[in-house]
Amino acid sequence: MTGIYRIADINIAVTSVYEKVHRMCADYLVCGQTADFSVETSEADIENERERSAREDALEGIPVRIFPDSYLETLAVYRRIAERMPDYDTVLFHGSCVSVDGTGYLFTARSGTGKSTHARLWRELLGERAVMVNDDKPLIRVGESSAVIYGTPWNGKHHLGSNISVPLKAVCILKRGENNRIEPLGADEAYPEMLQQVYRPMDRDAMRKTLSLLDRLSGSVRFWRLFCNTDIEAAKIAYEAMKGN
C-alpha cells in the first residue's frame, strides 16, 4: 500500500508491506500532490531491522526483544527516508524537542538518560507555553545561518509530538547528576555527542553531507550540557540558561 506524506516540508511517497506505518503517519497525509521522492520497504528491510535490533540488544547486554514485523517496518521506512534527507539539507536526530513560545529546544543523550523525563518537566514548568515537537526522532533542516526542527510521526513510545516546525535555538546534552547544573558547551566539545545522536547514512555521499550539515549546525545553535535530576528545578535552571536574553 502507498501513501504520500508531507514530512519536514517534503512530500514522500511511502510504499509498505504492512498498514501500520500508514496509520502512524496519518497526521502527515497529503492528497492530490506529487512526491518529491519515494521509499519502498520489503521483507528484506524488515529482516534487516530485526537483525539490527538484536545486535543492539546484545551490545546493551539485555535479552533480545521480539518485535512484530509491522513495527520493524516502521523503522525501516524511517531509515530509508533518513538516507535521503541529507539531499534536502536535513538530518534525523535522536532527541526530545520542546517548543517554548515558538522556539525549539532540543535535549539529547544516550538512551535511558532521561530526555523524555526532562522534556516532561519543561511542560510541567511552562504549561501551555511548552509544546512537544517530537519526543524521539525529529528532523532538523540546517540552513546557512539557522536551523529549523520538525515534528515527525516517529515520536517515541509515548507518541509525544506534533506536526509542526520551529526554529531551533539550542541543543542540550543531558547527563544525570545529583544536583542540577548547566554550562555552555563549545561546538567542538559538543561535536562527538552530536555525531553519536545524528542518523549516520550508509551511503558515503549522504554521510559526507551529514557531516557538513553538522558543521553548519554548530554555527547556528548554542550548545549546553546539563547535569540534572528529576526535580522541577532541573527544568527551571535549564530554561533560564537556554532561553538567554
Binding site: 562527538p192 555525531l195 542518523y199 547514512p201 550508509m202 554521510m207 557531516l211
Partner: protein, 87 residues
C-alpha cells in the same frame, strides 16, 4: 598492504581529525586524534604498508629514534581494532 576501509570517512574540523564510520560499519563510535593521526589516515587513503607510513612520517616529523615507529604501530593497531583497515 593496507588501506583505509571504505566504511569510514575522515573529517577534519577545528584542527581535530575524526575518523567516522558510515551507517553500515560495525563500529559506531568516532576516533578523534591530532594532526599525526590525520597524516596517517591521509596515507591510508591509498594502498600502503607500515614501513611506508613510518618512512613518510619521519620525513614530516622530527622525533627520537623509535618514537614514530611506536606511534604508527599503536595507531594502526587501534584502526585494526575498530575494523577501519582493509588488509
Amino acid at each position: 598492504m593496507m588501506k583505509l576501509s571504505k566504511d569510514f570517512l575522515i573529517h577534519i574540523s577545528g584542527g581535530k581529525t575524526d575518523l567516522i564510520p558510515v551507517g553500515g560499519a560495525a563500529f559506531s563510535g568516532i576516533m578523534r586524534g591530532n594532526q599525526t593521526l590525520g597524516t596517517i589516515l591521509e596515507l591510508l587513503k591509498s594502498e600502503t604498508t607500515e614501513e611506508e607510513i613510518v618512512s613518510a612520517m619521519k620525513e614530516k616529523y622530527n622525533a627520537p629514534d623509535g618514537i614514530i615507529e611506536r606511534d604508527v604501530k599503536k595507531a594502526l593497531s587501534e584502526l585494526r581494532g575498530i575494523g577501519a583497515l582493509d588488509e
